[in-house]
C-alpha cells in the first residue's frame, strides 16, 4: 500500500510542489485516525436489545372471553364482557441504580378481540439489567392532542378509540352487561381525558417480583403480564369500589372515570413471569 504511494510521490510531485505534501499527509493521518476511532466506537458501543410484552387479559383467575361467559366479582355481582381494549404507552425500564430508559414512540392498542394485539416488542432497549418496568395506561396528552392524521397505526382514529366530539383518545374501553341485578344493566365504560381536574392518564408499575430483566444484544427477554378486569372495579383505597348492577355509563371525563383509572393503575396489571429469551 505504501510503496506505490511513495513511488507516485516521486513520480508525480516534482520538487517545487512537494510543499503540498505536508498538508495532504496530515489530512491522511486525520482521516485514518477517524476511521480507526469509528471502529473502536462500534466495538465498545453499548448495544441494544429487544423486550417482548405479552398481555393475558383475565377476569380474576379466568381468561377473558368475549363470548358471553359470565364472571363474578368479589362482591358477588355477575357480568359479561363484549369489548375490552386499552392503550399502553410511554414504556420505561428502570435499573437497580434508579436510572431509567424511556422507550420513545411506543403506542400499543391491546384489544381482547384481536389476539395479535396482545403481543408486541420494544426494540432498541439499551443492554443492561433492569429491575423495574412502568407504562402509561392510555396516551400522553401531547400525543393525544396532536394531529391524529399524522399518527401511526394503533393511534389511528379508525380504531374506535378516539373521541370525535372532544379530540383525544379513549384510553381504555370496557363494554358488557351486568347480569346480577333485577334487570340486565349495560356496562359502557370509556375512560379518557387529559385535562385537569379529570385527567385519566395514569401509570402502572407492576412489580417484576424480584426478577431481573436481562437485556443483551443476543438476549430478548419477554415479560408476561396479566390484566385483570376485576381490578377496574376495586382499588386499594376506601371508596374505590364500583358496583356493576347500578353502573352508569362513563363516556366522558369525570370523577368516576378518574376513579376507575386509578383502580386499574393500582392493581390491574401483574407480572406473571420474566422469561430470559
Amino acid at each position: 500500500m505504501w510503496a506505490p504511494v511513495q513511488f507516485s510521490i516521486a513520480k508525480h510531485f516534482p520538487m517545487k510542489n512537494r510543499r503540498l505534501l505536508l498538508p495532504v499527509f496530515f489530512a491522511l493521518i486525520a482521516a485514518t485516525s477517524w476511521l480507526i476511532g469509528c471502529k473502536k466506537d462500534a466495538d465498545s458501543q453499548p448495544t441494544v436489545g429487544t423486550v417482548s410484552f405479552e398481555m393475558a387479559n383475565m377476569v380474576g383467575s379466568k381468561d377473558l372471553a368475549l363470548d358471553g361467559t359470565v364472571y363474578t366479582t368479589a362482591s358477588g355481582e355477575t357480568f359479561t364482557v363484549s369489548t375490552f381494549k386499552y392503550y399502553l404507552s410511554n414504556i420505561k425500564f428502570t435499573k437497580a441504580d434508579g436510572s431509567t430508559y424511556a422507550a420513545p414512540g411506543e403506542y400499543h392498542l391491546v384489544d381482547a378481540a384481536r389476539a395479535s394485539s396482545t403481543n408486541f416488542t420494544i426494540s432498541n432497549v439499551p443492554t443492561g439489567n433492569y429491575t423495574g418496568v412502568s407504562f402509561v395506561v392510555g396516551v400522553d396528552s401531547t400525543t393525544t392532542k396532536g394531529d391524529p392524521l399524522a399518527l401511526p397505526g394503533d393511534l389511528n382514529p379508525a380504531n374506535a378509540m378516539y373521541w370525535t366530539w372532544a379530540s383525544g383518545h379513549i384510553f381504555l374501553k370496557l363494554e358488557g352487561t351486568a347480569t346480577s341485578g333485577s334487570a340486565p344493566n349495560p356496562i359502557t365504560c370509556h375512560v379518557g381525558g387529559y385535562r385537569a381536574p379529570y385527567s385519566a392518564i395514569v401509570t402502572a408499575s407492576p412489580s417484576l417480583n424480584g426478577n431481573t430483566l436481562v437485556v443483551r444484544a443476543n438476549q430478548s427477554p419477554k415479560i408476561r403480564f396479566s390484566a385483570d378486569v376485576l381490578k377496574m372495579f376495586d382499588g386499594n383505597s376506601p371508596g374505590s369500589h364500583v358496583a356493576l348492577s347500578t353502573f352508569q355509563e362513563i363516556m366522558m371525563p369525570s370523577t368516576r372515570a378518574v376513579q376507575i383509572a386509578q383502580n386499574y393503575a393500582a392493581g390491574m396489571f401483574a407480572v406473571n413471569s420474566v422469561q430470559a429469551n
Binding site: N156, A158, S254
Partner: protein, 364 residues
Amino acid sequence: MWRTFYLLRAGRLLLAHWRLVVLLALTGVVGASAGCSRVADMALAVPGTEQPSNFPSMVYGLAKNPPDAATFALGRRLFYDPRLSSDGTVSCGSCHRAEAAFSHEGHRLSPGVGSRLATRNVPALQNLRWRQGFMADGGVLGLELQALAPLTSPLEMNMPLANALARLNADAEYQRQFAAIYGPGPIDTPQFLRALAQFVASLTSANSRYDKYVRHEADGKLSAQEVSGLLTFKAKCGSCHATDLFTDERFHNNGLDRTFAADSGRAHITSQPAHRGLFKVPSLRNVARTAPYMHDGRFATLAQVLAHYDHGVQPSPTLDPLLRSPSGRLGIALSSAEQADLLAFLTTLTDNDFLTDRRLAPPQ
C-alpha cells in the same frame, strides 16, 4: 409518521425509476416556469384559496393541504354522499345547505339517521380556514378532524370511521379517485379526512355588500340606515363579534339561561365550573340566512336575538361581564331605532356570490 411513510414510499419509487427521475429532472429544469404556473392554475380552480384583504391571516393555511381541483372535486363528492351515513340517507350536505351558508335554515335541530335529532343547531360552514377550533364547545381541535364528529355521532350520520373507510374502499370509482391523488393502496384515514377538508376549507364568504364597502369596491354601497347600524354594531356588539369574521373565536356566556343542565357548553369539554354556559361566538356572516339562532336554535328571528340582548339576558355566575353593567342592569340596551338599524346592517353581510356558487352545490 404518515408523512414519513409517504416519504419512504416516494423514496422507493424514485430509486426504482431512477432513469425516469433523471429524465424528469432534466425536463423540469426546462419546463420549470410552465410547471409553476400550472400549480397556480390548479389552486385557482378551487374556490376560496385567496386571502381576502379584510380578513385576519388563515389558521388552516393553503400549505397544510395544498388545494387542487381533483382533491376539491373528491371532497365535494364526499360531502354530498349519503352513503357515508349508516343507513345511506344522510350526507353532510343534508343539513349543511349551500343556499343557507351551509346551515339548515328553518330547523331548530336537524334529523340524522332514523330521524334522530341532534342536540345542537346546525352551524353555518364558512370561512373555516380562519377558525381556531370547532363546535360550539370547541371540543374539536382541527378542521380535518371536524368531520369525524357528525360522521360518527349516533344522532347524525352514525358511521364508525372504519365502516366509512370500508364503504369507500368497496367503491371502484372512489378507489380510482383517491388513487389518482394519493397513489395506489387502500383509502385511509388521512386521505379521507384531507380530501373532505379541501371542500369545507373552500367555503369562503368574503363578497357581501359589507365586504365591498370596507374594501372600497365599486358596488360597496351601504344606505344611511345600514351605516348607522354598522356604527351601533361596532359600539355594542363588536367586542365579541370581532374582526371581519365577526367572531373573537372565544367562548362567552351570553345569558340565555340561569342553569346549564341541558348543555353546559365549553364546560362539557373542560369540566371547569367557570366554563359552564359558555359557547363559541358564531360568525354573523350570512346571518340573515342561517335562522334559527343560538346553539340550540331557540330564536327563530334576528329580531328575537336583539330583543334577548336588550332585555332577555339571564343572570348566572358565569355570565359574561360585558353583559352586566355597573348599575346591575343585564344585557345591552338597544333602542328600537338601534335594533332596526342593526337588522338593516346585518342583511349587508349576506354574500350572494357564496350562497349561489355552483361549484359548492351538490355535484350533478
